[in-house]
């Protein structure tokens, strides 16, 4: 077996250019697959981590009904909002401890005569701190406090909006009112969040003269099941809004459901992308098959000679299968290095937007080993037909071949 392996290796070395072209065919497919798996696995890990940070005792209520089993996915596109009445209704539901509504508005922000449009997020500070102590991490200055009147905290990327640097103490003008920047956040992992301006809920309600909320966060009481509390809230809201089951104008998600929803979306994306990458690997396999057929044709006389000196059909078959398997293996090994390089590059590119260390691509051993095995299998399968042709050659005829 080892000897056949070396015979095959020597043949690969013989036609260097052709071998490399064949290997590149496999390499591109494997690199694409490895990069995509590595990145999507990294995304999944990141999302899981974020949700873990969030905890499992939270429920999110969003406007807009459930669509195709993915709750709240369309909420952003709908002109529906939750109201102060809804907040009161939710507070009454069994198992609810804290209710924290959020205002999110795109608004004009002026700073030293420059204008920009960005999200204004407003939460009730005392409630927010109770629900998530470390939801907003301050890099400079201080966090908002309930008593703050005309104070804001800004995201890490706020300076992308203005030429002049926004600092602690800078004055931003929103809706013709002046706000002092008291804190700058650490990167959150979301571009929108990093460009946003944050203020106290009551101030925003007055400023925009609104009672419409984009999201309501709920923390449940100890000892209650998130799903059950979610059902309680749903029932209360339905009753208050006079809506039928299945036709709600809102949707409710526990953190687990949300995680699941993200998982579904991520899986769909993953399957589509890896499917596309697989096509390129298939093309690589066809290239390998072509190379192997050429090789069989070119070495017909050699095959005849080997048979004359005692090689059985199975020996010839193995030599050629090893050869095509090796194309796969080498292509796979280089492809894995390239693929992981690409995914690491994606990580580096993403880190300024997401914050360092938030998104880490996966470099799991199973991915490397699996890809290597897979590429060997692809190479070997591509070689089956040519190798069978080689093995079946009749020695006398093969020897006559010029």
């Amino acid at each position: 077996m080892k000897d056949y392996f070396f015979l095959a290796l020597k043949n690969i070395k013989r036609r260097k250019l052709r071998s490399w072209l064949t290997i590149i065919g496999i390499l591109i497919g494997i690199a694409a697959i490895v990069a995509l798996i590595s990145i999507s696995q990294g995304m999944e890990d990141t999302i899981n981590e974020q949700f873990e940070k969030m905890g499992t005792n939270k429920i999110i209520i969003m406007p807009g009904g459930e669509i195709e089993g993915i709750p709240g996915m369309m909420s952003g596109m709908m002109a529906e909002y939750l109201t102060e009445d809804d907040v009161e209704t939710i507070e009454k539901a069994k198992g609810v401890e804290i209710v924290s509504p959020i205002i999110a508005k795109v608004s004009k922000v002026e700073y030293s005569k420059e204008k920009a449009y960005t999200f204004i997020y407003a939460w009730s500070m005392d409630k927010r701190k109770e629900i998530w102590e470390d939801m907003m991490e301050i890099a400079q200055g201080r966090d908002l406090e309930e008593k703050d009147k005309h104070c804001v905290v800004v995201g890490d990327d706020i300076n992308d909006l203005f030429d002049k640097e926004v600092k602690i103490g800078s004055k931003l003008e929103i809706e013709n009112e002046s706000f002092r920047v008291v804190g700058i956040l650490k990167p959150t992992g979301g571009r929108d969040n990093d460009l946003a301006v944050y203020m106290e809920l009551k101030i925003a309600q007055e400023l925009f003269d609104t009672n419409e909320f984009m999201t309501i966060y709920v923390q449940i009481k100890d000892g209650f099941e998130p799903t059950q509390v979610g059902e309680n809230i749903k029932k209360e809201l339905r009753k208050a809004k006079d809506e039928k089951e299945g036709e709600e104008s809102f949707s409710i998600q526990t953190s687990e459901q949300m995680l699941e929803a993200f998982g579904i979306v991520l899986n769909v994306i993953r399957v589509v992308l890896i499917g596309i990458a697989s096509i390129s690997l298939f093309v690589g396999g066809v290239g390998t098959m072509n190379t192997m057929y050429t090789s069989v044709l070119e070495r017909t006389k050699e095959i005849g000679t080997m048979k004359a000196v005692g090689a059985k059909n199975s020996d010839i078959l193995l030599i050629f299968l090893f050869e095509s398997g090796l194309y796969g293996l080498i292509g796979g090994a280089v492809g894995i290095v390239l693929g992981l390089g690409i995914s690491k590059g994606a990580e580096l590119l993403a880190s300024p937007y997401l914050g360092a260390g938030i998104f880490k691509v996966s470099m799991a051993w199973w991915l490397i080993l699996g890809a290597l095995l897979f590429s060997f299998v692809v190479g070997t399968i591509s070689g089956v037909l040519p190798a069978m042709q080689a093995a079946r050659l009749k020695p006398a005829e093969a020897l006559r071949h010029e």
């Binding site: 056949y4 015979l7 050699e302 004359a308 000196v309 005692g310 059985k312 059909n313 020695p395 006398a396």
Partner: protein
């Protein structure tokens, strides 16, 4: 002397489109251990076909061929390969060395298919290299060797599994007279050591080395 190869009423037909070419026709032949036989004849006389049949590279259309008392017409291809590797050493006109293997690796190649360990293979191949006086070219590739050297490597390869019979198809065809003679001297010496040599040639001068000459014409033995 003991019979090593026996052909009984052997026919070989080739179908070429609509016509049938009778390449070998009713051949009966006994070859004894230690014979040095030259098969001569003009091109198209069936020499090469005979060679393929005797060397178990091809199967007869009719008749029986016995190699060391085994009827090779009734054996599976895998078994046939085993028999070829064990009992016959081939020397080809165009040497047929594997270009990716060095001189010593080419000589050791037939032993791989007999499942002989690497250590033993290399030891045996070195002995053979000494025998064909090519120790100094041990690690050279075929394209780095002269025609005569290549043929000596090919003869060395034929000796790898210590076969009873050496089949040489025009062994001097691609060599000049002097190197051709050297190759024949080696064959002659091997014959003296007890090997049965069957050589196909169209060169009557070369046929003189043999102790028995068989002349073929139109697929039949005429002398």
């Amino acid at each position: 002397m003991e019979l090593i190869i026996q052909l009984k009423d052997v026919y070989k037909d080739y179908v070429m489109g609509n016509s049938v070419v009778k390449a070998v026709c009713n051949v009966n032949l006994d070859i004894r251990k230690g014979d040095f036989i030259a098969i001569i004849g003009p091109s198209g006389s069936g020499k090469s076909t005979m060679m393929n049949l005797v060397g178990a590279l091809d199967i007869a259309t009719r008749g029986d061929i016995f190699l060391d008392n085994i009827n090779i017409e009734h054996v599976q291809e895998s078994e046939l390969a085993q028999i070829r590797g064990e009992k016959i050493g081939f020397v080809f006109q165009t040497f047929n060395l594997i270009p990716t293997l060095t001189a010593i690796e080419n000589i050791a190649l037939p032993m791989i298919f007999q499942g002989i360990s690497k250590e033993e293979r290399m030891k045996k191949a070195e002995e053979i290299l000494e025998q064909v006086k090519l120790m100094h070219r041990r690690n050279h590739f075929p394209n780095e060797l002269s025609g005569g050297e290549r043929q000596r490597v090919a003869i060395g390869r034929a000796l790898a599994n210590n076969p009873e019979v050496i089949l040489a198809d025009e062994p001097t065809g691609n060599l000049d007279t002097k190197t051709g003679k050297t190759a024949l001297e080696i064959l002659k010496k091997l014959n003296k050591q007890g090997k049965t040599i069957i050589m196909v040639t169209h060169n009557l001068e070369m046929a003189k080395y043999a102790n028995k000459v068989i002349k073929l014409k139109d697929g039949k033995i005429v002398k």
